[in-house]
Amino acid sequence: MSNKDSNWEDSYQKEKPKISIKRARSAEVESASVSPSTVDLPEPNKKSEEVKEIEVESKSTEKSKEETLPVKEVKMTKGTDFPLDKIKQNLNPELKEVMKKVDSKVSKQEVASLINTMEKNKDVIFENTGVNVFDKLSLADSSTLSKKLDEWNIPKEASDLNASVILAWLNKNKK
């Protein structure tokens, strides 16, 4: 490892982020927030039942550190406890409601078309859209990226769910 690399490693360790639930300064605001800025990065090969401790602290920065609220332990966990091919029936009630609306707005054909593009017309993401998305990638890199994307597969029900949401989002923002 080069000197540069080891120095980066050091500073990386110092800045090692933590998951934290932060509370708003105002006492009456009860909602907490998790900042992705402070993710405690997982070690590779850790098991899915890995649990991360989250501490509660005041939302504002140095100025309000004195006002830090009492620490409350919150655990962050990985993984799901149900099969992904039955994802729809296991969604939380709020999202189930949202999905009812989404399903009424997005047709099955649109979903099938998007999934078909992802499976059979992958090169579309390397075409010139006028936006520099993967312009810097070499042909070999593009091929690697394409193969990797193939590995990001999930059961049909979950894949349909993602596609419906993305299509609803695109339709919502359509100008």
Binding site: N7, W8, S11, Y12, I21, K22, E30, A32, S33, V34, S35, P36, V39, L41, P42, I54, K59, E73, V74, K75, M76, T77, K78, G79, T80, L84, I87, L91, V98, M99, V102, L114, T117, M118, V124, I125, E127, T129, G130, V131, N132, V133, F134, D141, T144, L145, L149, W152, A158, S159, L161, N162, A163, V165, A168, L170, K172, N173, K174, K175
Partner: protein, 220 residues
Amino acid sequence: MRVVPIKKVLKNYLGKNKVEKYLKGIEVIFSNKLTANTMDMYQYALSEFAEGETEKAINAIVFILDFDREHKLTLHLCKTMLFGLTQYVMERKDDFANLKKKYENDLDSATSKLKKKAKDIEKILQEKEKALEEEEKIVFDNRSNFIFNLFKKKKYKNNINEIKNQLSTSKQEYDKYKDECDKVEDMIQKEEYLKVIGLIVEICIFPVRFEQELAKTQWK
């Protein structure tokens, strides 16, 4: 091997100002719970997308993948967003190219100019609507005044018609600017989202490359 934090790379690539909206603290719905789960976070991302809250959804995606880089549902969501957005941009490629040409690629300044123009017209519209209301009130208040009806009503009616015509023209003009402004803003937004999601996908697939770049930045 460590996981390269997407958050840090986004900061490096997009700059502090642009990245801020994607990395604001997540308002956790499960604030009363003692456990938070990547599945909860993933569902939160879906809800936010469905509500059109793109930045919040991307924020959740970044959070999940910085916590669990192998989260298949989220990786697939990124892939779906990437393809969906690419399709969207491809379908509007010519429109986008024309807009860029028209405004010489200076889209930010084009948006502010169009917004200002629309706002100016909106002001004129309000003034005209007020004038119309006043004229109509005079006609209404004097409806039983014989002399008014005989000598002045026609003049007021003509005024009212003229104001209505002006209003209609101004409204068309306003709609034209508003529509153009929406199109430019949509293009700016979608292109930015496409870049961001492309970058997230690249970080997940080629982490070493970004690790080296991060290391260089740390050194500077």
